[in-house]
C-alpha cells in the first residue's frame, strides 16, 4: 500500500477506533477490584465483603448541636428544636430517597426487625434458648408463673402492648422473646450512649459504587442543610462508614488519573519537542501513541468486563515507553539523514526484541496475582504491539514530509568516553559496589501492612473515629467465621461458637457480639428445646399458669392453653426466603461451596478470642486487615518470583536471537545491576519495600533490557547515535513515569520511583558494563 493511502487509512480509522472504544468501555473506580485477588476462598470472601457486605453499605450519621450558636443574622429559624427532634425529621426525609434502603435511629430496631421478631412466636417451643438445659429450670419454674402472668399484664399495658399482644396470642409465656434478649440489649446499650442524634442509614447501592454513593451523600447533606436552616443552623452532621471512604478514595483516584494523564502526556510532548524541534513530528508521533493507547484500552475492555481507572492512569505512562520505538527511528533518521522507512527497516529486529522483552515484563506483571495488573498486562501487550506495528508500517508514511533535527544531548558522548577510558577502575568500583549491595540485601524491610498502600485519609479516619464513638461498637472488619458443607452443620457450629462467645463476653474478652441465634437455629437445637418444652408443660404446669393468669386478671381462655411444639422445625431455607434475609444478609456470606456464617464482634482481644474459640471445628477468627496483610506478603513473594521468571524469559528470547550467552548476560547486566543497587539503597535507607516496589523494578528491567539490546546490536553502526537514541528513550520514560509521582494514591509514586530509578541507573550502566560497540 502506498504511503498516501496508509496515512489516509490511519487518519480515518483512528477516530473510528476512538468511537468504538468509548462505546465499549466501562470504567471502574473500585480500588478493591484493583487490589484484591480473588484466587482463593478467603480472598473472594474479603472482596465480597468489601464490595457488597451489609455493613459496608451502612452510613453512621451523627447530628449534634454546635456550640456556640451561629453569628447574628444567619439564624432565622426555630433554634429551640432539639437534636432528637431534628434527627427524627431527618430520618423521615432520608427515608424518601431512592438510594436509601432503610434509615433508623441507632437506639431502636427498624420496624421490619420488630415484625420479624413477632413472626417467630409460633416456633417458641423450638427456639427459646441457646442453652435449654441451663435456662429451662428458670424459664419454666412453676413458682414464678404468677409473677410471669403479672409481667405479661404490665407488658400489655405498656407502650409495647400491641407488639406483646401479637406474640402472646401464640406464645403466652413470651418464650420466643427470650432468645431475642441479646438483640434488645444491643439497642438499650446504644440508647445509653447518645442523645438521639445517632442514625444508621443503609444504602441500596454497594459501598464501592462511588458514583451512586456520591449522589447519596450529596442528597443526605442537602436534606440536612435544609432542615438545619429551618432550625437556625445550630446543628452539624457528621458521617462515617465504608461508603464515605470509597467516595473520598474515588475522588482522589479520579484526580490522580487526570493529573497523571495530563502531566505525562505534556512531559512526553515537551521532551519530544526538545529532542526533535518538530511540531509536525510531535503531532504524528502523538497520534501513533494515542492510537496505541486506544487499542490497549479497547483490548482491555474486550477482555475484562470493566476497565479500572488505575489501569488507564498507569497505561498513560506507557505512552512514554511505547514512544521509545518511534524515537529510536527518528534519532537515527535525523542523525544519519536516512528516510524514516530505511531507519525503521534497519532497526526493526532490535525494536521487535525490545518490544518483546517489555511485553514479557508486563506479562510477568499479570501473573503476580494482582487483579489490576492483569488488566495492565493486557493493556500493555496490546498497546506495545500496536505501537510497534504502527512504528513499522505507518510512521514512515506519516513522517514523509516532516523535517527532523535531533538535539545534541550534552554529556552523553562524554559519559560514554569516560566509561571507555576508565573502564577498569569503574568496573572495579562496580564490583565492590555489587559486593556491598549484596551484603545490604538482608537488611531489606518488607512492608506487611497493605493499608500503607491505600490513599492516605487521616482526616477522614479521625472523623470516622469521632462518629463511631456515638455508636456501640461492632467492628465491620473482624468477625468469627463459620464454615460447613451444609446449613445444619454450619448452624450447629455457629451455636457452639456463640456459647463460647457468651463465656468470653462474661470474661471481658469481647464487649459484645451479634450472633445468629435465634434468627437461625439448627434442627438439633430446635429438637432439644422442644424436648424440654414438652417435658415441662405438663397438665399441672398448665394449671399453675392458668391460676397465675386468673390472679393477674388476664384471660385464661385466650392465654391459658400452652400449645405443643410444631412437628416440623423452622428451616433455614424458609427463614432466608422471608424478610429475615435482609436482617442477616451481612452475616450469611456466600462462598463458592457450602455455607459461611459470620458472628460480628464488638471490641475484643484477638489473641484471647482465638484461644477461646480453639477446638471448634469449622470456626475461626477472620480479620480483614490480617487477610489484606497476608495478601501483601503473598503478592510480594509472587512479584519476586515473577521478577525472576520475567528475567529468565527475557534472557531466553535474547539468546534465541543472539545465540551467544555472553551477549545475553551483557544485555541483561545493566538492568540487573540497577535492580541490585536500588534494593541495596532501599535497604540502607530503611524504606519499607512492598510488592509494588518489586513490580516497579520488574518494569524497569523490561525497559532497561531494551537499552542493552539497542546498545549491543548498534544497528545504526554508530554507538553515539544509538546511545543518544537510548538517552532520548530514557528521558521520555522518566517524563511519563515521573508523572506518576504526582499521584496521591501511594501506588503511583512507588511505581514512579522504582521505574525512574531503574531506567536511569540502567541507562548509566550501559556504556560501563557493555563495551562501546565499534562504529563499523
Amino acid at each position: 500500500m502506498s504511503f498516501v493511502w496508509r496515512k489516509r487509512w490511519f487518519v480515518l480509522l483512528f477516530p473510528l477506533l476512538l468511537a468504538i472504544t468509548f462505546w465499549q468501555i466501562k470504567v471502574e473506580t473500585d480500588l478493591n477490584a484493583f487490589f484484591t485477588a480473588t484466587d482463593d476462598e478467603d480472598s473472594r470472601l474479603l472482596a465480597g465483603l468489601l464490595k457488597s457486605g451489609e455493613l459496608s453499605r451502612r452510613y453512621l450519621l451523627v447530628v449534634e448541636k454546635t456550640e456556640p450558636a451561629p453569628a447574628a443574622g444567619t439564624s432565622a429559624g426555630d433554634t429551640s428544636i432539639s437534636v432528637a427532634a431534628l434527627s427524627a425529621r431527618l430520618v423521615t426525609q432520608l427515608a424518601k430517597l431512592d438510594d436509601v434502603e432503610q434509615v433508623w435511629p441507632a437506639d431502636q430496631p427498624p420496624r421490619d426487625w420488630v415484625d420479624a421478631v413477632a413472626s417467630y412466636a409460633p416456633y417458641h417451643p423450638r427456639l427459646f434458648s441457646l442453652n435449654p438445659e441451663t435456662d429451662a429450670p428458670e424459664l419454666f419454674d412453676p413458682s414464678q408463673l404468677a409473677a410471669k402472668a403479672d409481667g405479661l399484664k404490665q407488658a400489655l399495658l405498656s407502650p409495647q402492648g400491641s407488639f406483646v399482644k401479637a406474640i402472646a396470642k401464640q406464645d403466652p409465656l413470651l418464650l420466643s422473646l427470650n432468645g431475642f434478649k441479646a438483640l434488645q440489649s444491643q439497642f438499650q446499650q446504644q440508647a445509653k450512649l447518645g442523645s438521639g442524634g445517632a442514625l444508621i442509614l443503609q444504602s441500596r447501592p454497594a459501598a464501592l459504587d462511588s458514583e451512586a454513593q456520591t449522589r447519596l451523600q450529596a442528597a443526605i447533606h442537602a436534606n440536612f442543610d435544609s432542615l438545619n436552616a429551618e432550625a437556625g443552623g445550630v446543628f452539624k452532621l457528621s458521617m462515617a462508614g465504608v461508603p464515605v471512604f470509597s467516595v473520598a478514595a474515588q475522588s482522589e483516584i479520579s484526580q490522580d488519573v487526570t493529573l497523571v494523564s495530563v502531566v505525562s502526556s505534556l512531559a512526553v510532548a515537551l521532551v519530544f519537542l526538545f529532542l526533535f524541534h518538530s511540531f509536525s513530528a510531535l503531532h504524528w508521533v502523538m497520534m501513533v501513541q494515542g492510537a496505541s493507547f486506544v487499542l490497549g484500552t479497547l483490548a482491555t475492555a474486550l477482555v475484562f468486563p470493566q476497565v479500572h481507572s488505575l489501569t488507564l492512569a498507569l497505561g498513560a505512562s506507557l505512552i512514554g515507553i511505547s514512544s521509545d520505538y518511534p524515537i529510536h527511528v527518528m534519532v537515527h533518521c535525523a542523525k544519519h539523514r536516512n528516510t524514516p522507512l530505511s531507519a525503521v527497516r534497519l532497526l526493526w529486529p532490535s525494536l521487535l526484541m525490545g518490544g518483546l522483552t517489555t511485553v514479557i515484563g508486563y506479562g510477568a506483571l499479570g501473573f503476580t496475582g494482582f487483579p489490576g495488573f492483569e488488566q495492565i498486562a493486557v493493556f500493555a501487550l496490546a498497546s506495545i504491539i500496536a505501537s510497534l506495528g504502527l512504528t513499522r508500517w505507518v510512521l514512515p508514511a506519516l513522517l514523509t514530509n516532516s523535517s527532523l533535527h535531533s538535539a545534541h544531548l550534552p554529556g552523553i558522548a562524554a559519559w560514554v568516553d569516560f566509561c571507555g577510558k576508565h573502564r577498569k577502575i569503574l568496573l572495579g568500583l562496580f564490583a565492590v559496589g555489587v559486593v556491598l549491595a549484596g551484603l545490604c540485601l538482608p537488611q531489606i524491610r518488607w512492608m506487611d501492612d497493605m493499608q500503607k498502600l491505600a490513599v492516605d485519609m487521616d482526616l477522614l479516619k479521625q472523623q470516622d473515629a469521632a462518629v463511631r464513638s456515638h455508636f456501640s461498637s461492632i467492628e465491620p472488619g473482624r468477625f468469627v467465621l463459620i464454615q460447613a458443607d451444609d446449613w445444619e452443620t454450619a448452624l450447629q457450629r455457629s451455636e457452639a461458637a456463640e456459647r463460647r462467645l457468651q463465656s468470653l463476653k462474661q470474661a471481658g474478652v469481647v464487649s459484645e457480639y451479634h450472633g445468629l441465634f435465634p434468627w437461625l437455629v439448627s434442627a438439633q437445637l430446635q429438637a432439644e428445646n422442644a424436648k424440654f418444652y414438652q417435658g415441662v408443660t405438663t397438665p399441672a404446669f398448665q394449671q399453675a399458669w392458668q391460676a397465675g393468669l386468673a390472679k393477674a386478671g388476664l384471660s385464661v381462655e385466650k392465654l391459658g392453653n400452652l400449645l405443643p411444639a410444631a412437628p416440623e422445625p423452622l428451616l433455614p431455607e424458609n427463614v432466608m426466603a422471608s424478610s429475615v434475609r435482609h436482617i442477616l444478609s451481612g452475616q450469611i456470606v456466600t462462598g463458592q461451596t457450602g455455607v459461611m456464617l459470620s458472628l460480628w464482634l464488638g471490641e475484643h482481644d484477638p489473641d484471647k478470642l482465638i484461644a477461646g474459640l480453639a477446638g471448634l471445628e469449622g470456626t475461626r477468627y477472620f480479620s480483614q486487615k490480617d487477610q489484606l496483610d497476608h495478601l501483601a506478603s503473598k503478592y510480594r513473594d509472587r512479584s519476586l518470583v515473577m521478577l525472576g521468571i520475567g528475567i529468565g524469559v527475557m534472557a531466553l528470547f535474547i539468546w534465541l536471537q543472539q545465540r551467544d550467552m555472553r551477549k545475553v548476560l551483557l544485555t541483561l547486566l545493566p538492568s540487573l545491576a540497577s535492580v541490585l543497587f536500588i534494593f541495596a539503597t532501599w535497604a540502607l535507607m530503611g524504606e519499607e519495600v512492598s510488592f509494588l516496589h518489586v513490580i516497579g523494578l520488574l518494569l524497569s528491567v523490561s525497559l532497561c533490557v531494551d537499552y542493552g539490546i539497542f546498545f549491543i546490536e548498534n544497528r545504526g553502526k554508530d554507538a553515539d547515535v544509538t546511545y543518544h537514541a537510548i538517552a532520548s528513550s530514557t528521558l521520555t520514560t522518566i517524563a511519563s513515569f515521573g508523572a506518576l509521582g504526582l499521584g496521591k494514591t501511594p501506588t503511583l509514586p512507588i511505581l514512579a520511583l522504582s521505574v525512574s530509578l531503574g531506567v536511569t541507573l540502567g541507562f548509566l550502566l550501559c556504556p560501563l558494563l557493555i563495551q562501546k560497540p565499534t562504529n563499523k
Binding site: D107, P159, G161, L554
Partner: protein, 210 residues
Amino acid sequence: MTIKRVLFLLLALFPIAGFADDAVLAELLARIRQTGQAQFSYEETRILELAAEPWHGQGVMLSAADGSLVKLQLQPTRVIMAITDQRMLYWDPQQNQRHNAALDSAGPAGEQIKVFRTILQGRADELQTSYDISAEKQGKQWTLRMTPKPELTADALPAIEIAGDDKDEQRRILIKQADGESTEYRMQKASEAQQQEYSLQRLLLEASGE
C-alpha cells in the same frame, strides 16, 4: 399506645365545650395552642382483648407549653409515661422496664400520636383529613366525636369521644381501638395544693433514667 393518644387528647381537647362546626373547631384549636402548663388527676379504665376484666389505674398528668407531657400512674403501681422532644419515655420501676424511643420510629403507636400532636398544634386542616368530627349538646352536657374517615380505616386510627359539662371541671375521654380495645379517662383539674406536689422536669428525668 392507647395511653399516649389519650394523654394528648386530654390536654388538647379538655377546653372544648360543645362546638360542632368547623369554625368553632378552628377557634378551639387556636385556644389549644395557647395551652400553658397544666396538671390533672385522672382515673383510667382499660378494656384489653387478653384481659379477663377491665383494668383500673389512677394518677396525675402534667403538661408543659412546649408539648411535653407526663402521665404519672400512681395506682396500682407507679409507672411514668412521657412524651417530650419527639421521644416517648416509659419507666416501670417494679418491672424494671425502661423504654426510650423516637416517636417517628414507634410504629403504629407513633403514627397515632402524630394525630394528637396535630391537634396540639391546632392544624385543623390536617386533622379534618383523617377524622369526621361531630358535636352533640344536651342540656349542660356536650360530646365531641371524632371518627376516622372510612377511606382511612386501613391506618387503624382509633375513634375518639370527648364529653364534658359547662363547668369545665370534669371530662371523660373514650378511645376505641379498631381491634375492640378501649381506654376511658375521667379527668379533673388538679388543685393548687396538688400542683405543688409534682414537677414535670423531675418526672421526665426519672423516666429517662438520668
